[in-house]
Symmetry: C3
Subunit: 361 residues, 3 copies
């Protein structure tokens, strides 16, 4: 899908980083060191991969200022991985969805669709909904009553944006994701039968959020479930009613966040993490994959485990657990030594007493 | 979405609970203590939130009979949370899906759709399928051959109800859920290659079941996968072939239940629980989030852990695990004391022997 | 759905296994011992179910050569479970999707669809895509630009096959599954804001793969995510960018595999397993349900735990953990015995010294 090309000196200017070496080399794509060819730009984000750089066929490379001359043209960046991402964006050919409404789409006369938005086949847009300028909806998409979708959004096939939900600008939602399903709220009677608590709130998704495939984001019971600016969510993630996810947080695949949880900003949740209801997780907290959060967490902590604890503490307990079988043998040996001591001491006392008695004679 | 309104005395009558104070106050919605305004009804389900009640702006409040006068109109209920749910249902404005078949829907001439059912855009109804009176299907929904859907069901966009499955009355299925995918059944040859065991059974879902978004409920290999009356299932739950889920059970998000498991009635499974195949879980068992069930469970137990054990027992083991590092230090100290004892005793014996020998002189 | 019928002697020939007893008995289906009737074929795959065989009403039964006469016609197979699967395939009536393109489908003039392929309602086929002979697509399916789908595939409703992905022959994809969603790739700036790394690779799925419902398979960042021949994947599984899954591996429900993982062939992953990024898992490795793989794994190992270790080792550690509370009591008792020893020894020494001193007089 990459066919654009730039001279290295142009990339230097567009990416706002200096270059070194031949600026006229023509680059038409980005690739990893192992596979990049002579017309591709590669990158060294981790010094341990330096040997791969030396054997790479890449035509140019993005490196850290600390890296010396590598015998080929270079872009110099203090954050080579970031510069690589920005370069890849320059070469990326977005999916060609032509502006306009596909003849099979159904748009309510009470909805508003920007003239340069693109609606593919079988997109439904309900009454009172609005689709902002430059937004593109692939096909087979349901946009409910009163949904507001901002500018330059990208919505993949089979997405449900249900009644009343609001999405900001440049939001990306991948295939099969549901925004605005009912929260899981029931009251029980004395016989343990459930009755539904109507879920009348919405989901609000702010600018620059990206949500993976087959995720579920429940609407609030009252008020809103809120995903703030710049949050990135992987696939198959469950976000319950009334959750707030703070700015620029990162949620890896298959995480489940229970109702009314509040995450701070820049939180990172590893894959398959679970967070119990009504907790608060502070800014910049990082939770290792598969952990379970059962208490609120102060800002800046690194946690792991089920239930989660500070990572260093978990490591200490885990190390103790690893020693357990050997250590139980050691304790058994210690027990034997104590038994032996007891016997010896008993004999000693008896013999001492004998001696004593002997002395008494 | 809330615009209906009732006088408190009318709510008292409709909800079949007594009121206290001014019965003429007009209520147009339900909300939590923190945000409810003067025309809203709130509730006190947990005595610890009493301070919130005192500072609430709610126009009226549902309380337990034990609560004294709170200086505003009250509904008196032995189960305030239940009464709140019932009240919220009175105010809830259901999604306005007009009866009738959308012109883009495709209904087999061999299917039967009740005249007052609502079929939205791009709903497919296959041969031999039937849609009961008052059922509403949003849009982009696949109803396979011979599917039977009862009365007053609500099916959200992107649901698949596959061939032969049967749903009772008042069943709710949220977006993206699949009912009747093939069970995961294969036989292996000596080389470890798999061949498919055709999955020829169905899924039967009884009255008043609600299933969340992006769930998967597999059809039986032979016979049926069966979700009984009143069961409530959260999002992203996996229910394998030939599973039975007993009446009024509650399954929280991201649970996985393997093939041929039988759950009793009123079982509660916390989020991300896994249950291994062919097990039986008794009535009223409750499993904590993230647990793994690897043995059948007697009725009435509370279990947790991987693998799960009775909750109190798990707590005891977990407490021991928490003490491990400190305790390993204590054992090391004990070892040192034993070593010291051994030395001392050896010296004592030697000295006693010396004494003895001395005495012998 | 079963209406074909065969004489037992015909089944013997078609399944290439000998029969014993009356070959003229007519069989019209397969069922388990408990429910199979006089016109059905059942099977004994596990000797412990022999009593069920004796009480079964099955008209004929598939047994191991070691099983003696059971008083009814038998098929003799060294792998009765495999033979049962093959027999069930003979009786299976595939879903009647007539060849041809449904009038509501939208096929790009630049796409190619085999004349005997079946495209149901609201199937979109993008420019440059091709659908092979005998492939059947139910309905409500999105096939992106340049997708290649081989022969005799079966694609259920609400599947997304996104731009550029390639599927081999006889591939089955269940409802709601997404093939080719973007990998979860971002670079962070110094302020912790994310920018997207365009995901320009594809997904390649080889022959005879089956993928369950509501799975997500991400496209590669560069190159391909690759699911090799004969792999079987259950529901709600997450496969990240650049993963390779080796031939004939089996992935149970709700597994998550992080980016750039390489699984060997014949690997078996239990339900809810998680595998961290960039690891290699050798051939024939088996991972127990709910385990977390945090290191690469040599071929042939059986692992379990969080983090996973060899199953026998885990069992030893788990047994030690189970003994912990009782064992902590034992150590407390041991501590008491040591204290007692210390006291006794101190007294003994004093008394010995007294004796000694006494002796000195």
């Amino acid at each position: 899908m990459e066919k654009r090309s730039y001279r290295l000196s142009d990339l230097s200017r567009l990416l706002d980083v200096p270059f070194k070496g031949d600026g006229t080399v023509v680059i038409d794509g980005v690739g990893p060191l192992e596979t990049a060819g002579p017309t591709q730009l590669s990158f060294l984000a981790n010094p341990k991969y330096r040997p791969k750089l030396d054997s790479s066929r890449a035509g140019a490379v993005i490196v850290d200022p600390s890296v010396e001359d590598v015998g080929r043209p270079m872009l110099i960046s203090s954050n080579p991985y970031w510069t690589m991402a920005k370069a890849a964006q320059l070469f990326y050919e977005p999916p060609p969805l032509a502006p306009g409404i596909h003849p099979t789409a159904v748009v309510s006369p009470e909805a508003s669709v920007a003239p340069d938005a693109a609606l593919g086949p079988w997109v439904y847009v309900g009454p009172g909904a609005s689709i902002g300028s430059g937004s593109r909806l692939y096909g087979l998409i349901y946009v409910g009553r009163g949904v507001r979708l901002g500018r330059d959004c990208l919505i993949y096939p089979h997405v449900s944006l249900l009644d009343g939900c609001r999405l900001g600008d440049r939001v990306i939602v991948h295939s099969g994701t549901v925004i605005g399903s009912d929260g899981f709220g029931f009251a029980q009677d004395a016989q343990g039968r459930s009755t539904k608590i109507p879920q009348t709130g919405i989901v609000q998704i702010d600018d620059d959020v990206e949500i993976g495939a087959n995720c579920t984001v429940d609407r609030a019971t009252f008020g809103k479930t809120w995903i703030q600016e710049g949050v990135k969510i992987d696939n198959l993630v469950q976000i319950a009613h009334n959750v707030t996810i703070g700015r620029h947080s990162i949620i890896v695949a298959q995480v489940g966040i229970a109702g009314s949880v509040t995450l701070g900003s820049h939180v990172v949740l590893g894959g398959q993490v679970g967070i119990a209801g009504h907790l608060t997780v502070g800014d910049r907290v990082r939770i290792a994959a598969k952990s379970a959060i059962s208490h609120s967490v102060e800002p800046g902590q690194d946690l792991m485990g089920v239930p989660a604890m500070p990572q260093k503490q978990w490591m200490r307990h885990y190390a103790a657990w690893l020693r357990l079988p050997r250590w139980q043998q050691e304790v058994a040996a210690l027990k034997e030594r104590v038994r032996h001591l007891e016997e010896t001491l008993a004999r000693t006392q008896t013999s001492t007493e004998d001696e004593s008695h002997g002395n008494e004679c």
